[in-house]
Symmetry: C2
Subunit: 418 residues, 2 copies
């Protein structure tokens, strides 16, 4: 007896009609027709089925800051708007409520894995458990004092506790997140690396986001950010480099050789005037490229379908075939594999992290339909490990009304401070 | 007695709560509170009110071609995919059904004026009348034979009839559309101009869409496309130049002086690898810049909210303040004024072409919320001349089920041919 049977969906790659049977959170069988019984079934006629998306760089709690400092450059936006507000507001409860707001939006755009970086990330873990979504929470480390810690040493100490507490939880992959080469000293970066290696966990860090960062790094360290990280040993197979808008040829070689991952954030990079990362080039040079939305205050949404579309259209500035719809989707699915999660693929025995997208007309090319024409409101169903997070367009594991009340109270606090 | 009262909306510019009273298709009164009676009222609490959008370049009937030749360059896409299919399929009924499909999508993203260009555009007029949407249908002219006409002379003859029949209809602004400088001879362009001047109607033409077009024009005419159009007198106050990705300084001066309008189509320009039109520069140089989605087969959607967002993010590559959210919205509203329609503004006595966008939280900056965070599925209400086209997220003047049946039958024909 299967747990769930998806009937008569359109396979996103072949365009053919398929049934998909799910058992114990995994894809048990894919076939043109499955007759065996199942406890529940979904009629997916006219809907495309595909693996859900992995959003590999976000700062979920910043959902409460959406719309702040809308037309400013990165450093100004951080120093004059975001950091002062965070000093005032960032608390465990703020993080919890903001993250849940972000997760609700992420699910609606087809996401079942989020790699996040912020303060008080332990608060996100209980939420993720309740919501049944995969999370790679990152313990954020900077050299300056925040509500989390006063000194780099204290940050590292707390990061170790964080990791110890979360390491063996289902759906959770804790990470260590030295913020960037411009906000962490060499000693801080090395201490973070030591924790990552001894605990065998990922490093998630901002890298080469804009030209100013490159200049600062050259000035301070005599090396460009990726070069510098390499020189300290931070380019590992489990390193996730967010942004990488500016990489020289030799840096790209170092990254490709190391097996580190580049997390492309195209909309944030446009919005903050950072630039366009030439990821189709990176892919040709065998770099593992993933995608993320970045925080919802520099985007300003957590819409993976929109992010995939923007990524694809931007690369076409080079050539119309720079990224095809098929490659675009594989980038949005690759985050699972990068964290050794067997999802992001429509194969038997893979985790049943799936989404259904409704179509008005039979698609000519389902992958083109998803990338170029679909809107996130066309996503009707999101399954994580076989369990619905969204069904018939409604969130099933989040009480949206209650969430709205809590978020509204934070929004009022923000509005009083700006 | 008002016809309609919108209660407790958030004004998109001031962020303040407003009531809006509508009578005889116009905004009759805007005030913080209106107590006078109205035949109907909408509770817009928590919703932002703003003028609807003008989509100034589309090929609506191509909705039936969505997803075709997804990852090809412009000329290849036209010559190998689109033109052969059009030869096979384009007929009055194809145009009618495809256009209605496109109009349905356009309304859902907040549009009440569409400037279109295709064959058999007279078919669109009865639809627009039934749906109650504003349309600037364009009679397409090319030098080669199509189902519409065999010779340039016959095209021009038919264009004159087209215009005569439509000139005084409400909501309709007929245009003449010589396709481009590469598909129309000098004689054809001059004949089209003569019709435009004698009938006092707009010229709508593709111009400087990609580098290949520039080269072709230099080769054939010894001038770049905009220069060439100027030399023939086609840059008039009523000329709408779609695309204009590549304009030299002296061409920009000619366009600014002439009062011709540039219709920016950012997503199509990315998708077909054409480039990014530097419209923030054009605006500084006093060019009238409008926005359009282009046809749904080179985008591949008719989502004005998405188009506005893409336009804004792309210009930020120059500087984060290149286009603010406020300027972006004014570009999306400017198409009305360009056709001498008193809409696109929240002012008393303006036409009541309005939309309501729901928000989960009170927006920090309503215009930033609309441009950077809102999704077209957040649009609940669209009014054209005071009458609802969309209400509570549902189309009120289109039978979607019936439309789907007709569109499905065309889609099957397309799928058999590709």
């Amino acid at each position: 007896m299967y747990d769930l049977l998806i009937k008569s969906a359109i396979h996103y790659q072949t365009g053919k009609q398929v049934d998909i049977a799910i058992k114990d959170g995994k894809i048990s069988k894919i076939s043109s027709e499955i007759q065996d019984p199942a406890r529940e079934s979904i009629n997916a006629s006219g809907q495309i089925v595909l693996p859900s998306f992995a959003n590999m760089h976000s700062h979920l709690p910043m959902s409460l800051f959406k719309g702040l400092g809308a037309d400013l450059p990165l450093m100004e936006w951080l120093k004059n708007i975001i950091w002062p507000l965070e000093k005032e507001l960032a608390s465990p409860q703020f993080v919890k409520d903001g993250a849940l707001l972000g997760i609700a939006e992420a699910i609606k755009s087809g996401t079942t894995l989020i790699m996040d970086m912020y303060f008080f990330e332990e608060e996100l873990v209980s939420i993720a458990h309740d919501v049944n979504i995969r999370l790679a929470p990152g313990f954020g480390i900077v050299d300056f004092p925040t509500a989390v810690a006063k000194t780099p040493k204290e940050y590292i100490h707390r990061a170790k506790e964080f990791i110890k507490n979360l390491k063996n939880l289902p759906l959770i992959n804790p990470c260590i997140c030295p913020h960037s080469v411009y906000s962490c000293s060499k000693e801080t970066l090395l201490s973070a690396l030591e924790v990552a290696l001894s605990e065998n966990i990922p490093i998630h860090i901002h890298c080469a986001e804009n030209k100013q960062e490159i200049e600062l790094s050259l000035e301070k360290n005599g090396k460009r950010p990726a070069e510098y990280l390499h020189s300290l040993g931070l380019l590992t197979k489990k390193t996730f480099l967010a942004h990488c808008v500016y990489l020289e040829k030799h840096e790209r070689e170092l990254i490709a050789l190391s097996g580190s991952h580049v997390v492309h954030c195209p909309e944030s990079n446009l919005k903050l005037s950072s630039g366009i990362a030439p990821i189709s080039q990176y892919i040709k040079e065998n770099i593992s490229v993933l995608i993320g939305t970045d925080g919802p205050a520099s985007n300003d949404d957590i819409d993976m379908l929109g992010e995939i579309r923007t990524m694809t259209l931007l690369q076409k500035l080079q050539s119309p075939t720079a990224i095809t719809a098929s490659l675009a989707l594989s980038i949005a699915h690759a985050g699972f594999r990068a964290l050794s999660i067997n999802a992001g693929t429509l194969e038997e025995n893979a985790e049943a992290d799936l989404i259904l997208i409704k179509t008005d007309l039979k698609p000519i090319d389902p992958q083109a339909q998803i990338v170029y024409s679909a809107n996130r409101s066309d996503i009707t169903t999101v399954l994580c490990k076989g369990k619905p997070l969204l069904y018939k367009g409604q969130l099933t594991t989040i009480d949206e009304e209650e969430l709205k009340i809590r978020a509204t109270s934070w929004r009022e606090k923000v509005l009083r401070l700006v």
